[in-house]
Amino acid sequence: MLASLQSVLLADTSAQALAHASAWAVFLVGAAMILTGAAGVILLRNPVHCALMLVVTLFGVALEFIDQSADFLAAVQIIVYAGAVVILFLFVIMFLGVDRKEAIAAEPTKLQKPLALLMGLVVLVEILALSRVDHWVGGTPALSGALNGPGDNVQKVGQAVYTGYLLPFEMTAALLVIAVVATVVLSKRAGGAGNDEAGAVVAEESSEVTS
């Protein structure tokens, strides 16, 4: 990897080279952000810090998107992911008060940690090994729209979504509605005459939690 890095820097400083170099720069910054963010999410004990490190990762990924000319996605990524999802995380963390520091070292079931690490590595190696295989599937490639043609990325994505992928798009709409309904039902406070017994349990527990 160092060899290619030197070749890049030494080659020339023409505009095309400049673009090339900037692409590398963006990639490297993004990669750094992703890796540090991911490490942070895994290793930090306080869940709030993890959430923040998650945001860093998301920004890294957004950068990578931009580097690969997927501008619309980068924007969506930041708005939806970084904006909504992580905030939701933080909200739930504070709401449930589970922000006690977690003792990473403690592990009730033995064999869990070492095996997990081993499994992570093995999966990584396998994916890399597999990536060198090229004859995955035969058949003609189904092209749903050229990426590099005229017009900017959003217009092409929009066109693809509303023509080729219309049905999945509608299904995702339905999915979101279901999710919302599910959330309302699940988190409805178990009040009401029907299950006062459940209500009592919750009341008594929450007092214990907050104490």
Binding site: A38, V41, V85, P141, V201
Partner: protein, 101 residues
């Protein structure tokens, strides 16, 4: 002119590995959730890389859908966690093992 896609794939693989390991190691439910998000982002990255590599917009559209699904999943997941934790004073994922065999 741009970075060879192999780098992205390696990066995504590493991110995926870390996410998976995190999921298995951490005991706090929310952190496990975040690790899942990491894995999803790794997948998105791979999608985008291949979209660029194969010059096919479909990859990016898939990322869009992955995003939506991820969002829905987070919403419902957190609702479950809220319902669960309100009912039982559980700090970590291990405290909830009622469904023991």
């Amino acid at each position: 002119m741009s970075v060879p896609s192999a780098w992205y794939l390696v990066l995504a693989a590493i991110l995926f590995g870390m996410g998976a390991t995190g999921l298995l190691v951490r005991r706090n439910v929310l952190v496990m959730f975040m690790c899942i998000e990491l894995m999803l982002n790794a997948v998105n990255l791979t999608f985008v890389t291949f979209a660029r590599l194969l010059n096919d917009i479909g990859g990016q559209v898939d990322v869009l859908f992955v995003l939506v699904v991820a969002a829905a999943e987070v919403v419902v997941g957190l609702a479950i966690i809220v319902a669960l934790f309100r009912r039982r004073a559980a700090a970590t994922a291990d405290d909830i093992h009622i469904l023991k065999g």
